[in-house]
């Protein structure tokens, strides 16, 4: 298919762009296969380049022959384009609609994007399971890297290499896989160096109504316990939801079959509920006419903050079991691709200082989200302005980022990256020139040949000139476990994402600049003092023989 077929009017002059808190721009609108471009053709005005993939939905309005298109983006921005001429406006609107909802992945921009920078460090090769396993091997010899899923046949959503207990052979793994939803048998998620406790993740066991059991599954998870030790199973669903799952062949671990494990149920919402929550929250944030009461009641009704609290609490609980209780933990929900990953990845940020560095955080996303099979493409197909019937869209990853932001707010000196890094990740999961978040699992990415045909986000982010924007000037590495407060009074609305386009941040940005300036000036002075001291010491030693002849 040619993009040109979808573009009836490739350019219109005299289009006026309205954006909140910015002056209007008049210029020429151009449509290309992947971008909507508005250029005023004046030297010092910024051009608007919008990826079609970033467009969530559009609205058309006509007053006389003047048409208006309101473009609502997945990054939550809303812009308005006034287009002279009814036909032009209709054509543009139809093209945008068609181009922003292309079904075929291989037509997405990452397959056409050619970087203008030289790729020095290929992001696709940066975080391979073998490397992570080497780290693990240096700490313990209880684990092995299994190739049982080499051709993705045992579990289609798992990567080809998986870390499993050393004593469990591949045959047992296959049997355990057949007992777990989607074949997602328990695998290692995190090894807590301090006390050797581990966090595993899986999907729900397929006990069904007649209480099926699987010896291999029991053996597999028991193999992660030290002699005489007990573990916790954190089921991210309420007990009622878990019970209901039995009727559909799912279920949970029965005490009788897993006597060494204690099960705790939490209540993290399912993905369709989360999508609804996002839509309501963004609607509340975008309505400027609210009275105080209406704002608070809409914020409450969206349930977004409740979701943040619940996810964060569950992650803290998992971390607490591992670090404070000295117990190993198995986390799962239903499929093990959403709430499970929220919990395991957040727990690692709390427990493991390495995850709070930029590289470590990238590795965490790679390990716990991309390779773990979070279906990014399905979840991020639409954002808060989708008006169609939701399929499997859900802001699961955005909620994870929100939780990370909450911890960052409470421990502003413990993270190497800043809020902008998290916002950038949010943007790229929904629309990007990079291939990193395409596809739903490793198998799909291999099939799409993403590593050959597209550029990795990490190849771009990790360039020093880009990285600079994402560094936290307050960062002072510490090796501590950081326990966030989950009281509602301590959890804030993530304004950087949800009010980003609805407020002017000039004063806040300038204040931030001043803070950075103070920090940098301090470093400068420290260096100056050190160099002067050295200079002085040198002179003094040179001098001393003269003074004491």
């Amino acid at each position: 298919m040619e993009f040109a077929e979808l573009i009836k009017t490739p350019r219109v002059d005299g289009v006026v762009l309205h954006r909140p808190f910015m002056p209007t721009v008049e210029g020429t609108l151009c449509l290309t296969g992947h971008h909507l471009i508005l250029s005023s053709r004046q030297d010092n005005t910024e051009e608007l380049w919008l990826l079609h993939a970033n467009i969530d939905s559009i609205e058309k309005r006509f007053i006389g022959s003047l048409g208006t298109i309101i473009v609502k983006c997945k990054d939550l921005r809303v812009i308005q384009l006034d287009i002279p001429g009814m036909e032009e406006c209709l054509n543009i609107a139809n093209s945008i609609e068609a181009l922003s909802t292309l079904d075929s992945v291989s037509l997405m921009y990452p397959f056409f994007y050619r970087p203008l920078f030289e790729v020095i460090e290929d992001g696709w090769q940066l975080f391979v399971p073998e490397e992570a396993f080497k780290d693990l091997e240096s700490m313990t010899d209880e684990w092995r890297l299994s190739e049982v899923n080499k051709d993705f046949s045992v579990c289609p959503s798992y990567p080809s290499l998986l870390t499993v207990p050393k004593d469990i052979d591949d045959e047992s793994l296959c049997k355990a896989a057949s007992f777990r939803h989607g074949g997602r048998f328990p695998v290692l998620s995190y090894y807590h160096k301090k006390n050797g406790m581990v966090m595993m993740r899986a999907a729900q066991p397929l006990t069904g109504t007649n209480g099926r059991r699987c010896k291999e599954d029991e053996k597999l998870i028991n193999a992660t316990l030290c002699a005489g030790k007990r573990g916790y199973i954190i089921d991210t669903r309420t007990i009622a939801v878990a019970q209901q799952a039995k009727a559909r062949g799912g279920g949970f671990e029965q005490e009788a079959n897993y006597p060494q494990w204690r099960r705790i149920h939490k209540a993290i919402e399912r993905s369709n509920v989360l999508q609804e929550s996002l839509i309501k929250l963004v609607e509340a944030c975008n309505d400027q006419s609210h009275s105080m009461d209406r704002w608070l009641s809409k914020l409450e009704a969206s349930n977004w903050q409740s979701n943040v609290k619940e996810i964060l609490t569950t992650a803290c609980l998992a971390a607490q079991c591992i670090d404070r209780e000295g117990a190993s933990v198995l986390v799962h929900g239903t499929e093990g691709t959403d709430s499970t990953l929220q919990v395991t990845s957040l727990a690692q940020i709390i427990l493991d200082p390495a995850c709070r560095t930029i590289r470590g955080f990238e590795a965490l996303i790679e390990r716990e989200w991309l390779q773990a099979g979070h279906p990014f493409q399905q979840r991020c197909a639409q954002s808060a302005y989708s008006n169609g019937k939701p399929r499997s869209e859900a802001p699961v990853f955005l909620l994870f980022l929100d939780c990370v932001w909450q911890i960052l707010r409470q421990f502003p000196c413990s993270f190497q990256f800043n809020e902008n890094f998290l916002i950038m990740l949010f943007e790229h999961t929904y629309a990007s020139q990079f291939g990193t978040f395409l596809g739903n699992c490793v198998a799909e990415r291999v099939k799409l040949q993403l590593s050959q045909k597209t550029v990795s986000l990490w190849s771009w982010v990790n360039r020093p000139q880009e990285l600079e924007r994402f560094l936290n000037p307050l960062y002072e590495p510490n090796n501590l476990v950081i326990w966030p407060s989950v009281a509602p009074q301590s959890l804030l609305l993530w304004e950087g994402v949800f009010l980003r386009w609805n407020r002017s941040t000039k004063c806040l940005d300038e204040a931030h600049q001043e803070m950075v300036h103070i920090i940098e000036y301090n470093k400068e002075l420290q260096n100056k003092v050190n160099s002067l001291r050295r200079q002085l010491a040198q002179l003094e030693t040179e001098d001393s023989p003269l003074q004491t002849p």
Partner: protein
């Protein structure tokens, strides 16, 4: 002291408000304080509670571990003691009941508090703020405004200060006539003069208009205010009450200005609720946020139902209206409510702060409070329940003003010379009765009490530790680019002020404080600039010329006053000596050292960060295993981790 029956009780448990944690210690009762000293020798925390800060003491029903005593403070501290013996508990309870209800001013702490200053220092403290100088700064007296001596002896209005500024055309008969037509004699006087447009902000109380009464002198008075400003043909009259309240007042012979009787006024209701609504609102807010294991839904619903942020927004909206009328239209504005000492004070003070950058400095903010709150007779004694226990008079009017300033600082982080810690400290002392400034209800009463001779001024105290209250990112040039602040009043810009209302709830605060961190760096920068200079001087002796350093602020060698321990600022600051000694040790070093015995010196923790304080989940189930304790709980104390 005669009211203290039991000065000391041992083995008292202090329960944490939000978790199951508790510590044991000794309770001491002195004439001025209730003191709790933790027995654990390694981290012995001490809690000092001033009797004046205690709002209520409650004896709860007896439990197996003893008799619980619940104490709620005006600075939002809530402490829950369990005293082993019922008799001790009762003794403490009844002593406190007596101690926290002083019957005469002489019993207030300010009259016994002695910071070891001589009379001259004390006097200097009181002279720090000079309101005559402040009016001069605004450009008053001038050709349109003059100082009147009509109230020199408090004869016209006893709740006003002696010195008042009125239009030059307002003669004494007009003033006296107008004052007779205003509630409590509070006739229109100048409180702020916007020199640039010669526009005035005046304040008064409601007119005694009833359904039809009028007063020619009062009409003349408003005419005079209008004529004093050539820039505008009209003046705004802002009635800060909801219209309904003003209407109801008419039945009592009070009310609001009839536009037909006053020429060239533009009358406007603003709709700020009265002191009773505000008191109830805060009470609801505190109930909600004081709930244990509060869910997000209950929190947000409770926040909404309390109406607190709605009221804060209403005050802010009114102040913005005032500032716009004055600075944009160049019109003079007369502000009143019922008596003109609550809502009027809020709106005039906040409006002035929006218009004049001076009030956003530390000194200027003191002047503003001294002018619009203290001198114009905001009834601090009644509103803060200093003496006369009439619960219907108590109301958090001043607290709301401080919160509005905080909300502004959130939107304009570089506009204020001070940080929120300054606001919280002022709030603390408005209720502490430790300094004379806020005692009593009016200037006249303060003179009768001879406060300047018998007590000390808070402002001198705060200025002496000014370093602690500085906003590190304050920019004087911001004032030049933003002389008038124009805040957004979108509902989502108003936030819950956690650091005020949870000031003492350690587990709620961010575990690392940016404010503290940047403040420390800024102090360190000053110190380093000095070091660089000193080193260069030394080098010059060796004949080495060095490039001149361009310090952003002149280096000062003055040592800093000790910083009070504050939960908001996070862990206590290390002295800079330590910072220099071991630059690579993190800020939590000190806390960690407290926690960890010397033998396991590697243990560290992030200040205040603990799994147990946060209550993530109910791990109370049991494995029934003999290797494990019967009940698996997570009571481990502060989380530690080996580095």
């Amino acid at each position: 002291m005669e009211h203290i029956r039991t000065p000391k009780v041992e083995q008292v448990k202090l329960l944490d408000r939000f978790s199951n944690k508790s510590v044991t210690g000794t309770l001491h009762l002195t004439a001025t304080h209730l003191i709790f000293v933790e027995s654990n020798s390694t981290s012995a925390q001490e809690i000092w509670i001033l009797h004046h800060h205690i709002a209520s003491v409650e004896k709860l029903s007896l439990t197996t571990s003893g008799c619980p005593l619940l104490i709620q403070c005006r600075n939002f501290r809530v402490v829950h003691f369990v005293i082993p013996r019922e008799r001790d508990c009762h003794d403490i309870y009844s002593s406190l009941l007596r101690l926290l209800r002083p019957v005469s001013y002489d019993e207030l702490y300010a009259f016994s508090y002695n910071p070891k200053q001589n009379d001259q220092q004390r006097e200097e403290g009181w002279q720090l703020i000079d309101l005559a100088a402040e009016f001069e700064r605004m450009g008053v007296p001038c050709d349109q405004w003059q100082l009147t001596d009509v109230n020199r002896e408090y004869k016209v209005c006893e709740t006003y200060p002696r010195d008042l500024y009125v239009p030059i055309t307002a003669s004494k008969p007009i003033i006296v006539g107008s004052s007779k037509f205003r509630s409590k004699g509070r006739f229109p006087v100048l409180t702020y003069f916007y020199q640039e447009k010669k526009a005035a902000v005046c304040r008064c109380s409601q007119p005694l208009s009833g359904f039809s009464a009028r007063c020619l002198e009062d009409e003349h008075m408003l005419q005079a205010i209008s004529k004093a400003n050539h820039n505008s043909r009209y003046i705004y009259v802002m009635d800060t009450r909801p219209k309904l309240n003003a209407l109801a007042n008419r039945a009592a012979g009070k009310g609001y200005e009839n536009e037909d009787n006053y020429s060239n006024i533009r009358f406007q209701f603003v709709g700020i609720e009265n002191i009773h609504v505000m008191r109830g609102s805060l009470q609801k807010l505190l109930e909600v946020v004081g709930t244990r294991s509060l869910s997000m839904t209950d929190y947000l619903v409770g926040l909404e139902n309390s109406g607190w942020l709605r009221h804060i927004k209403a005050i802010m909206d009114a102040a913005i209206f005032l500032a716009k009328a004055v600075t944009v239209e160049g019109a003079s504005v007369l502000v009143h409510c019922s008596d003109g000492w609550d809502r009027t004070a809020q709106v005039c003070a906040l409006g002035s702060l929006l218009m004049d950058p001076y009030y956003r400095t530390i000194k200027g903010f003191m002047v503003l409070i001294e002018k619009d709150w203290i001198s114009f007779g905001h009834k601090f004694a009644d509103r803060c329940d200093q003496l006369n226990p009439d619960p219907k008079e108590v109301s958090p009017i001043f607290t709301q003003f401080l919160e509005c300033v905080w909300q502004l600082a959130e939107q304009f982080p570089q506009a204020f010379e001070f940080s929120e810690w300054f606001l919280i400290q002022i709030h603390e002392h408005v209720h502490s009765c430790q300094f004379g400034n806020f005692l009593g209800n009016s200037q006249r009463q303060r003179e009768d009490l001879q406060l300047k001779e018998r007590t000390y001024s808070l402002w001198a105290h705060l200025l002496s530790e000014k370093q602690n209250y500085l906003n590190p990112v304050y920019s004087p040039s911001f004032a030049e680019s933003h002389p008038v602040l124009e805040p957004s009043t979108q509902a989502y810009h108003f936030k819950f002020w956690r650091n005020m209302y949870h000031q003492y709830d350690r587990s709620m605060h961010p575990r690392q404080s940016i404010l503290k961190h940047v403040l420390t760096l800024k102090e360190s920068n000053r110190e380093l600039e000095g070091t660089v200079q000193a080193l260069k001087t030394k080098l010059q002796k060796f004949g080495v010329s060095t490039s001149p350093l361009k310090p952003k602020t002149p280096p000062r060698g003055r040592s800093l006053p000790p910083r009070p321990q504050s939960l908001i600022l996070g862990a206590p600051l290390l002295s800079r000596k330590e910072v220099q000694q071991d630059e690579d040790e993190e800020v939590f070093g000190e806390e960690a050292r407290e926690d960890a015995p010397a033998s396991t010196g590697g243990e560290r923790t992030v200040e205040g960060s603990s799994a147990t304080e946060n209550g993530y989940g109910e791990l109370t189930g049991s494995f029934g295993s003999k290797n494990e304790p019967g009940v698996v709980t997570l009571e481990f104390g502060v989380a530690r981790m080996t580095c």
